[in-house]
């Protein structure tokens, strides 16, 4: 099956000017196993030029393994990897010149300054942007002569980003760029990625933050257990939940009510019969409904619960997010992992 899918791919690097036609990244039937853990389990993916693409999933979903295979750091057990129409085995040194990489947990030497670190990374690339420009882009002007050891978490992450940018890459990989940052530093980094996106760079990032993927990515692939379980724009994925709104509530029973209601047991069928209610699930006593017509459905939900002799102890609604997509697809919360 893989063979027929890949048969149309150019075997040699495409002519210049043809670049935008070639997907920036192409993965076919990718597999990687560590000991007895299947990290990547038959993955197919295409990322187009100029796209900001997000790999989303809980820890251990295989995001990092996938991105490290793309970066040429890990060899896949099986499958095909093409970046910018090139193969790692045939054109590794050319690819290294053309991609920018930011890894999880890289600690740059504490005793070097920001500028020295960037000068070092710049020296590896034949072509690239001036070190000064990378400092400006990462908004580290005031820190250029500071030692890396004195930087905050957000500044270190922006330095890592600047190191990925000095080679003026055609394809930029960011592996969990905001993990461990406080909300302000995270927003700061989002602005930076936004600016890179506006400049037309192709970006592939992994994250386990839903709001990050929604905010930054043109398209998102949701990964779980080494597979892509959903793929599309954030809007498409959210629409796939079947409703734009999520209603969450918890109940406690009336003493005077029927025995079932006294134990707080909700008749889900009654709720599902309400127009606009698409689905129902219970997680640790908290009921979740996906609802399309919030304004008409909510009064009926109240009525149905009261009719069952139930008393609401909690009630809230929010717009559906990628988190809800993940929950809908897997029955698990992303951050439970």
């Amino acid at each position: 099956m893989t063979e027929t899918q890949t048969a149309h791919l150019p075997a040699s690097p495409p002519a210049p000017g043809n670049h935008s036609r070639v997907p920036s990244l192409l993965l076919r039937a990718l597999r990687k196993t560590f000991a007895d853990v299947v990290a990547v389990d038959g993955l197919d993916l295409e990322v187009n030029c100029g796209e900001c693409f997000g790999l989303l999933g809980p820890n251990g979903a295989g995001k990092t393994t996938t991105i490290e295979i793309c970066e040429g750091l890990t060899d896949p057990d099986a499958g095909q990897v093409q970046l910018l129409g090139l193969d790692w085995r045939a054109a590794a040194s050319q690819l290294r010149q053309r991609i920018g990489v930011q890894l999880q947990e890289t600690q740059f030497p504490d005793k070097l300054t920001v500028e020295e670190t960037l000068r070092l990374f710049r020296s590896f690339f034949h072509h690239g942007i001036p070190v000064e420009e990378s400092i400006r882009t990462a908004q580290l002007e005031e820190k250029r002569n500071s030692r890396v050891g004195t930087l905050s978490g957000g500044q270190k992450q922006r330095l890592a980003m600047a190191c990925a940018l000095v080679g003026d890459p055609e394809l930029l990989f960011l592996d969990e760029p905001t993990t461990g940052l406080d909300p302000q530093a995270r927003r700061h980094l989002w602005d930076l990625v936004d600016a890179l996106k506006q400049a037309g760079r192709t970006i592939i990032l992994t994250t386990h933050y839903m709001e990050e993927a929604e905010r930054l990515c043109d398209r998102v692939a949701i990964m779980d257990h080494g597979r892509i379980i959903a793929l599309g724009t954030p809007q498409q994925l959210i629409a796939s939940v079947g409703a734009e709104h999520i209603v969450e509530f918890a109940v406690s029973g009336h003493e005077s009510a029927a025995p079932a209601a006294a134990h707080g047991i909700v008749d889900a069928d009654l709720l599902l019969r309400i127009p606009g209610v698409q689905s129902h699930r219970v997680d640790a006593g908290l009921h979740q409904l996906s609802v399309s017509e919030l304004h008409t459905a909510v009064p009926r939900i109240f009525a149905a619960l009261t009719g069952q002799g139930l008393h609401l102890s909690e009630f809230r609604t929010h717009s559906a997010t990628l988190e809800d997509v993940f929950v809908g697809l897997t029955g698990r919360n992303l951050r439970d992992e």
Partner: protein, 343 residues
């Protein structure tokens, strides 16, 4: 200059150098510690004038016969007091006048006492009129090069080159691996051979400073001799440093944590600290383990440096230790390149 600054090998080397000099502890261990050690040992083992041996005699005539000898200090004691002084170690020998001649009381297992016996007997015989059958005369030789400090300086130099090369290379690489920096560098287009070469180049630059500072100090303060060609000594230092850099690389080639690396380093270096003759001659070890002792790179390095500095031997005469060092260099380097883990 600008082109040079853009070259990745230059950047890697300069940054290595920065990282070394910005680490105050490293500066202490590389530059200050060996000098302190040399000063301490130089003071502890400085050559003192020959000891004056205390002796006793039972008559004033005997004491007078001994008084002229600078190697002896003689006191007149009666026999009971003399025996007591002998037993308590206050004198080494008691000369007792008796009707038939003189009796010497001393412990013949004590070398100093045996020397005292010879000196005392010579003086007493001379006072009694004995003449030397053959005229003899003394000429004293206090030559530099035969002192302990002369012996220990090449040893300390070798030990220091071993430590700085192994720690310098091994620790920095394992730290980079542990902090995922190595992985990040490999993800960039950095040529991998340049990364390793930058360590060697910065090591050689440090080597110049380190060796000149240490040997300069030894020369100025202790007047340690340099009898062999200095160029050849420099070659030996470079070869030694490269050899231990290769061993450091080998130790660092797979270790994932600093703790593992420290353990391995000590495992490699400890036998050499003990066996390689830094502080005393390696030939004191039993013949059975001599082949092992001789095969150690630090033994070879120190032998070659002592040969050059103290005996003025040329490289041709030092072919064996040089070959041992070269063999370790090639072997360790080849193996570590083969098994090196970049992530």
């Amino acid at each position: 200059m600008n082109k040079l600054r853009l070259s990745s090998l230059y950047q890697l080397t300069v940054i290595r150098f920065f990282l070394i000099v910005r680490e105050p502890e490293a500066i202490f261990w590389i530059f200050v510690f060996p000098i302190l050690l040399a000063v301490g040992l130089g003071i502890a083992f400085r050559n003192r004038p020959a000891d004056v041996l205390p002796v006793g005699a039972t008559t004033t005539q005997l004491t007078q016969a001994l008084a002229a000898d600078k190697g002896l200090s003689a006191t007149t004691l009666d026999e009971a007091a003399g025996t007591h002084a002998l037993a308590t170690g206050n004198i080494l020998l008691l000369a007792i006048q008796n009707p038939h001649g003189v009796t010497y009381q001393f412990d013949d297992t004590n070398p100093d006492a045996r020397i005292a016996r010879m000196l005392v007997d010579r003086d007493i015989q001379a006072a009694a009129g004995q003449r030397e059958a053959i005229p003899a005369r003394n000429q004293f030789v206090h030559e530099t090069g035969s002192r302990y400090i002369d012996f220990v300086v090449p040893g300390l130099l070798g030990m220091n080159l071993m430590g700085s090369a192994m720690w310098g290379l091994g620790f920095a690489i394992v730290e980079a691996r542990q902090k995922k920096l190595l992985k990040r560098l490999v993800a960039s287009p950095m040529p991998r051979w340049q990364y390793l070469l930058s360590f060697i180049l910065s090591r050689l630059a440090m080597l110049v400073i380190e060796v000149v500072a240490f040997l300069g100090f030894a020369r100025l303060v202790f007047a340690v001799p340099f009898r062999g060609p200095l160029v050849q000594l420099a070659f030996l230092c470079v070869l030694t440093s490269l050899c231990f850099s290769a061993l450091g690389l080998l130790v660092a080639s797979r270790a994932r944590t600093m703790e593992a690396a420290s353990g391995l380093m000590n495992l490699v270096m400890l036998p050499m600290w003990i066996l390689s003759g830094v502080f005393f001659s390696a030939s004191r070890f039993p013949a059975a383990i001599q082949p092992l002792v001789r095969a150690l790179p630090l033994t070879a390095a120190i032998d070659a440096m002592r040969g050059n500095m103290l005996q003025g031997m040329s490289l041709g005469q030092l072919a064996t230790p040089v070959a041992i060092l070269a063999a370790w260099l090639v072997l360790a380097f080849a193996v570590s390149l083969r098994i090196f883990r970049w992530r």
